[in-house]
């Protein structure tokens, strides 16, 4: 069904397979009047581009974005925005050996079961390349947030069992793992190097903060801020966990410790709740964590089955990230931005005053 469409009013619709002609996205519901150009989008795409650093794959495509509609003279017109990136560097041969083989930890088997066939070239639709569309749409969402002084910041919280102990925002973009802690980065770098030697892979956790979010964002009972964000994060491949504020830890402590006491100026003494109460933003920083499994593509020999049900052995060769987390940071940021823009729009209806102000003045 319509699984590739996200959002209720700021609607993002992605399409494209890893080794098809192109991947792209259509954004319907973007207001007019936003200044945007291809560079605004390209700089985010470059952050997720493979080959960007020693921890990524060596597939080296330019991933150049094209704006095909919805922007005229550098300004959005309120009509659907179509963005497209051609797939240049196919190298289909690298994947030919996995055509009928169900790689462990991949979606090969389930796509075949669901659809009866699949585009087996490089993961097809389930490839990480689909996130190009998300990052492109996210760049536009971030332009909207910028106009409202809202900032989304994602960074690596852990790689394997190496967790940050420090938060130096300025350091995030200075290291290829996007960690805000130099010591943690050094340890993680070492961990990855060892892992690569063993042809194995790692997972990790990305944390994301949203600063400047107004109060009132989130639509109970089902489209709450946290439930909407949970859906957005779990829609990213390889995600296995998500929590808000103290998250799972909150389930282990007492109410007297977990409750955030309100103080003057509508502030809270603590932010254990992560900026959301009853599914609605409380004006504090919105904080959440997303856990990624280790990359399933590993060079180590693995037993599996093929589409005839026979047992076979595979050693996945070619280009694969030993850890997907650093490239996923910009994807988390994009999905967070898209989700928040959609909820900011939805909240416009909450009070009749908003409607009166708009129409009685015009």
């Amino acid at each position: 069904m319509s699984g590739s469409i996200l959002g209720k009013v700021f609607i993002v619709s992605t399409w494209g397979e890893s080794h098809g002609e192109a991947v792209g996205v259509v954004i319907d519901g973007c207001p007019s009047g936003i200044h945007i150009n291809e560079n605004d989008i390209q700089k985010d795409l470059d952050l997720r581009r493979p080959g960007g650093n020693k921890f990524g794959t060596t597939r080296t495509e330019a991933d150049t974005v094209h704006i095909l509609s919805g922007v005229f003279n550098g300004v959005t017109t309120g009509t659907p925005i179509s963005l497209l990136v051609y797939n240049e560097d196919h190298h289909s041969k690298d994947y030919s050996n996995v055509q009928g083989v169900y790689r462990p930890g991949h979606a090969d088997y389930t796509f075949d079961q669901k659809y009866g066939l699949r585009d087996y070239r490089g993961g097809g639709r389930s490839s990480g390349r689909e996130t190009l569309s998300r990052v492109a749409a996210g760049a536009i969402a971030k332009k909207i947030l910028e106009a409202l002084n809202i900032k989304v910041l994602a960074y690596t919280h852990s790689i394997g069992d190496i967790t940050i102990n420090n938060f130096d925002e300025s350091y995030i973009k200075e290291n290829p793992l996007f960690m805000p802690d130099r010591d943690a980065y050094k340890k993680a770098e070492n961990l990855i190097d060892q892992c690569v030697k063993k042809k194995d892979s790692l997972g990790g956790i990305i944390e994301c903060c949203v600063y400047g979010l107004p109060t009132g964002i989130g639509e109970p009972a089902f489209d709450k801020l946290d439930s909407s964000m949970a859906k957005a994060m779990f829609s990213i491949g390889a995600v296995k966990g998500f929590d808000i504020g103290l998250g799972f830890e909150a389930s282990k402590i007492k109410g007297s410790k977990n409750n955030d006491l309100f103080i003057e100026n509508n502030q809270k003494l603590t932010n254990n709740c992560g900026g959301v109460l009853g599914g609605i933003s409380d004006g504090d920083t919105f904080v959440f964590k997303t856990a990624f499994k280790p990359t399933p593509s590993i060079g180590i020999s693995q037993k599996t089955i093929n589409s005839d049900g026979e047992t076979v052995t595979i050693e996945i060769k070619g280009r694969h990230d030993p850890v997907i987390v650093p490239r996923a940071v910009i994807v988390v940021e994009a999905m967070a931005a898209i989700t928040i823009v959609d909820l900011l729009f939805q909240n416009m209806f909450s009070k009749i005053e908003n409607l009166k102000n708009l129409y009685n003045k015009s």
Copy 2:
């Protein structure tokens, strides 16, 4: 906006405030031909009813469900099903002292910010009483799953820091905490007793298994099985975390350990992935965990502010659960059933064969 509507084809729409006239739900998209009566629904409602056991509040309402439409002579007709439960036991006075006060950990403040006013009686729309609607709809979803030999089973995985070490399914409904482990139950019972004495509260984790789910369920890229379930779970009040299979643990181990190897008969050697690959069910048991924060309503004196911004002190009296987890077990089960039914329907479109079989035969 339309935050109270969930689902794309099996659509559940809840309404009602804690101390209004009634709470209810409309289900649009339920097929004809399902045998259903009020008892089928009532037995699930009774499981979440307050006053059912020593760990619950003492609010003692019958919570009797009424089927108002969509069922004729005991069978669904394919038209919208309207279910309603009257609010009998209002006791509004118990809440009068919190009218202008923002209770820590509650949605009082955020509802006021979002809407400019709120129904302050007993939490209004953000009350746990809203889950009555979900459980009622869930009972109908479970009848559909039953017809397809799919079973959803939720149970308490932990209370505070007491976690199950054993899984005895038969014991789940024999203890008021719905734990599948007698020893863990005894420890948890003791922990709660101590907590009640201190007027404090506890959280915990609910685990849920879906047995018999066919392969192919879940709609990439955004309405995946896991992302849809994440949204459903986070839509329940007090939820702060969610993970699938190994979940957060998966982020800490190597790919070679996390990958589930396929073996003959399309089985997997392990189920670390929790039954979902690429957002689509793989035919194995679908397993996930949902973390609940401790009940925010505690008898301990807390500082907070009122709607005038003044600092006040409150001691929340009256009926409150020391831990919400046991009553939430049936809610988790209901939301899981609703989500899976919606995705089972959506998957009907995945192959043209399904359409041909239906229309060329009729």
Copy 3:
């Protein structure tokens, strides 16, 4: 599927069968701050109530509306509004003879084909009684329009071949056919009297004007003002035609005659287009016509088949309107109001300025 839910942001969900327990509606997406009480709704319900005049059926139910949620102290809270009307006057026996019979012009046959069974009591879900839900929701939509100085006015344009030649707004509510022309009313009254004697029935056309609609309402390419209204009108039972402005007549004249020339102050010299250009309101009066077929329930003996495929003869007895048009006037008005409110909300996103004004000020 979800056929009983209308709207994208102001979402109306109707439920209920003619002779079930009750009929009702849930409105999700109504903003907070609207003063509403049961009388506001009741007065519209009374306009469609059977037995109101000599041209209606004699089923005499009070059709009393109950507000069950979403309104607190007389003001909407922004949460779902649930409205309910009990079915008092069932008289199921009147319909027992049509249980297995497919009445010509009714939905008996198609419901049986679609669902395999149906609630055959009084038309069940396809009964005109379902419009009670629409009128109730429409009353709330009209309160919103009132706050924005927008007025929806529907009236009878023709009964059979008797068409109005005059427009006296004050006369509309002074005659039971809601015609704005006394002469036409007299002729139509006479026509209906003759028709009743022959146990036959009549159709007619309802015209509707929306005054004060701002420019810019309607969302191309698919949710245009006219396409949204067409859908809303055709969702009313017995509707067979719909047109805007000159409508079908426009297809017969030259462009030079049909084009409305713009003049100073953004006015148009004529309004052949009916107030909509490119699917968007142009600030002029929005005018459309909806054609209703004659009531299919007639006393004249008709041949038909039953569910066993046998030919049978029926004479439909009991209470039936000789012409449905006068009772449908308030339904047209309700559906128009609902549709316009939904589009007014949707248009709030069209410019980034609207978002900035809301969030940068708060």
Copy 4:
């Protein structure tokens, strides 16, 4: 808002401006297993192509379609299908004189009012060129209908006041006006020739028949077969009227004449209702008419205003169709096919048997 997305389960999302880079469409919800190639789409695109005959504009673009995703080895994979047509023949200069001018009968004024700015090149988003996307998506919908032996056939019913009196299906594609009546065609051809000489334009009516539609299609109360089709038709630019079966005529005759009597084999003696009862298909041919206004672009000098509110005179030069109807025939067919496929899918949920048959067998 999301005005450019149509459908609930077979979801069509169009994008693109007349003189931007390209126009295109994404189809989400198309099942796997449909054999499709670019020729299947191209042949429909060629039918709406300008310059195809003496009655069209002389803009001569190839309008070559590209399939960018969702099809692998000539078969749909169940993932989103992205189709794109580049805009080759811009000739922007032809439109430079209308940049700030509001052309009568066009959407220039309303787009400016709604969005505060517009892509004024050749009508931008409101250009007829947007229908390329619809025709491309319609070609895929028609492949699905073909697999189910359902046929959609649209043709010209009238041009100005010249109406068909005869129905010769084989003649439809043998004349450039797609009329099924040679005499009517000859008269219409003559009428158009005279009109062109006067630099004026004409409208007309397109009729559409759907053959082989199963019973049970259409989702009451709001997504009925007729209401869904009404919306689809009114979403096409220049449409001013729509009716089903006898349509407006039905409002003028008696019930005894309008009712279609059921006879043996679930047939009806007549088909005044146009194949739909209670919003659900009755197994008979589904028939409807759509009225188009005369092309608003005429060479005759017209007074209008510009964006500064000043009165100006324009004579629209360049390429314009004297009557849009013949090129709209394939658009009507496409929109009808898209709407029916969506409803065929939605009807799959109507009975629990359908679900059981699918899942208990697999």
